[in-house]
Assembly symmetry: C2
Amino acid sequence: MVEFQKMEPSELKAYYADLQTEYEKIKAQGLKLDMSRGKPCAEQLDLSLGMLDMVEYKSPSGLDCRNYGCVDGLPEVKKLFAPLLGVKADQMIIGGNSSLNMMHDTIARAMLFGVTDSVVPWGRLPVVKFLCPTPGYDRHFSICELFDIEMISIEMKEDGPDLDRIQELVAEDETIKGIWCVPRYSNPTGITYSDAVVDGLARMRTKADDFRIFWDNAYAVHHLTDHPQPLENMMEACVTAGHPERVFIFSSTSKISLSGAGVAMMAASERNIAMIRKQLAVQTIGSDKLNQLRHLLFFKDEAGITKHMKKHAKIIGPKFELVFEMLQTQLAEAGIAAWNRPQGGYFINFNTMEGCAKRVVQLAAEAGVVLTPAGATYPYHQDPLDRNIRLAPTFPPLSELKKAMEVFILCNKLAALEKMIR
Amino acid sequence: MVEFQKMEPSELKAYYADLQTEYEKIKAQGLKLDMSRGKPCAEQLDLSLGMLDMVEYKSPSGLDCRNYGCVDGLPEVKKLFAPLLGVKADQMIIGGNSSLNMMHDTIARAMLFGVTDSVVPWGRLPVVKFLCPTPGYDRHFSICELFDIEMISIEMKEDGPDLDRIQELVAEDETIKGIWCVPRYSNPTGITYSDAVVDGLARMRTKADDFRIFWDNAYAVHHLTDHPQPLENMMEACVTAGHPERVFIFSSTSKISLSGAGVAMMAASERNIAMIRKQLAVQTIGSDKLNQLRHLLFFKDEAGITKHMKKHAKIIGPKFELVFEMLQTQLAEAGIAAWNRPQGGYFINFNTMEGCAKRVVQLAAEAGVVLTPAGATYPYHQDPLDRNIRLAPTFPPLSELKKAMEVFILCNKLAALEKMIR
């Protein structure tokens, strides 16, 4: 294979015809492969099976976890997870099985009641804006859409979102109330924020007193290497900067234990937590403490979690490697695409030739391979260059992943050639 | 004992002095008893222990319940619980562990987005009012307080809330958007709504097109007798009346399986559910399906639930009987209080002599017996006659319940005598 740009028109046409024949053959196989979402595979879920047959129901302090109560979670479970978020146990709220739910509810409460330091509830303002580093997590953007929050795209750089641009915007615009951040192994770029970016976000002057950072540390311990790049502690950075109320931190064990039956958590300053706890006490009598207890007894402590995460890496590491290797050997030389090599998390960030992402996803779908919809990683599903695709290699078995990637690579070439020949 | 009203002032004084001596003796015992909340006792929770050591994780249709997905719940679990609510399975949403959470969120969504048939979100209106049959459930009232919804008390009659008054109000006032109902073994009155009340609520003309009945059928199968009074099917009544969107039905297994780790559910018309499901898909990727599966495998079918509920009745029936017997033999003749004899549910509705409820709760607390705060069963914690107390006999063991009731009865006499002597 040679670089497409260096090929003669006649060569391109001949190659395109060959690939089309290959594509038609694959289509005839009636594949049904799914690389669309960051789902753990069955083998990963098996790692936590030991959690399921728990017959214990009393917490270490003697609480009957089967009964009502304990609205913000078992104290022992807060202690277990506090190091994950880099906070004190009493800055935490343990939720149900979904951190997305906690993020949604935090925004809903802000719309209805405001946050600490709000003059009026956000929902009473004519316009509310959020900064959205892009490409980013589609479900964050969906929450903004639901609440009619205007999204402003911020470019992701090598070490996090474009801090200069952010500082400029928040200093001037009082209607900008928040920013979405996935600070470690960012979805989908895989980027971990640098200390300079963390500090900058904590320190910057914001026109809105009630500006909040939604710090979705979903991949806090989801390393693919033994020497992960450090991430500065955002809670401490905010306290040091004199903005202790600025950050809401979220995480969950969805990709540590069980994606459908994990434990979600959030953390914030004592003042923020006090306000939320009061509202929470009207919303529920407490989340499922038996499931919290399952996690406590299974993981025991931070070391238990670290050990467990190495088992995950062992399962999904080879899947990432397979994708890197195939892209490198079968696509790199063509010079029509670019991708990253993340050190953790669940995604590979892939850029097609400009204007080809939608076409690649369509071609793959027609050949039986479901990818995350093109544009999903941008606010309003609008990728301005129509090039970004999020690859999620964790769910399919290796054999299926290989097949899916063959199709994906082929579709990239086809889409590029379609453009070049025309 | 004789009727207090028939006693001479000197007799009253002498009796008061005797009771005070008795009270001081009890105080000296340093009791610590709790009758404040409708919590199942440990023996009841033990009934569902068989649910906990489940190692199965695939649903009958083969879904891996450990993974993401299935935002509105397992179809098989909807089918299991549909008869409880008297609805079709596809009119249901299965939630997390808390029906209170589903009620709160339904109101929050109505405030933010309105319901089907709303012209504007409720939160954009200058005032929103709810009808609150009283005495009623304090947590319903807390939700109204949180969202600044004005509460209008409606008197509970023998067969449900005062329908004439309700019809009069909703026909004229467009700002009345809803009513809270616990239609079976109402909290705390124990009343089951008659067919006439159910039909009337379904049929009545409401000035607001988006008026909604919040039908909290928390005690749908929580009978204390073998021949429960029937409750008309509210969903069918609304459909028949031509108001299919009028009702939101809620329930949970909190008092069937495990109060802290049960399964919550709601039901409504297909049109209502479609709107909620769309919003829910932004809020969460789905509730805990493993816990749903636990319930499915443990109860199997409607008959399994019925059989299980008889075991609950066997445990808590004697507690209710003890309370009835003690009140009858030790308090009835005094003529200073009245109470009901519910056929199911979790509470006994108790009325002290007028103006004595707060004092009784205070006296009991000082003697180490915690009761539900007086006034809790009324909007804004204001019982106009200061007489209503909700007795919750299920949680304490029989021996403790007996002791607590002795104190309670004594405090009733003391409070009445204080008033009569003065």
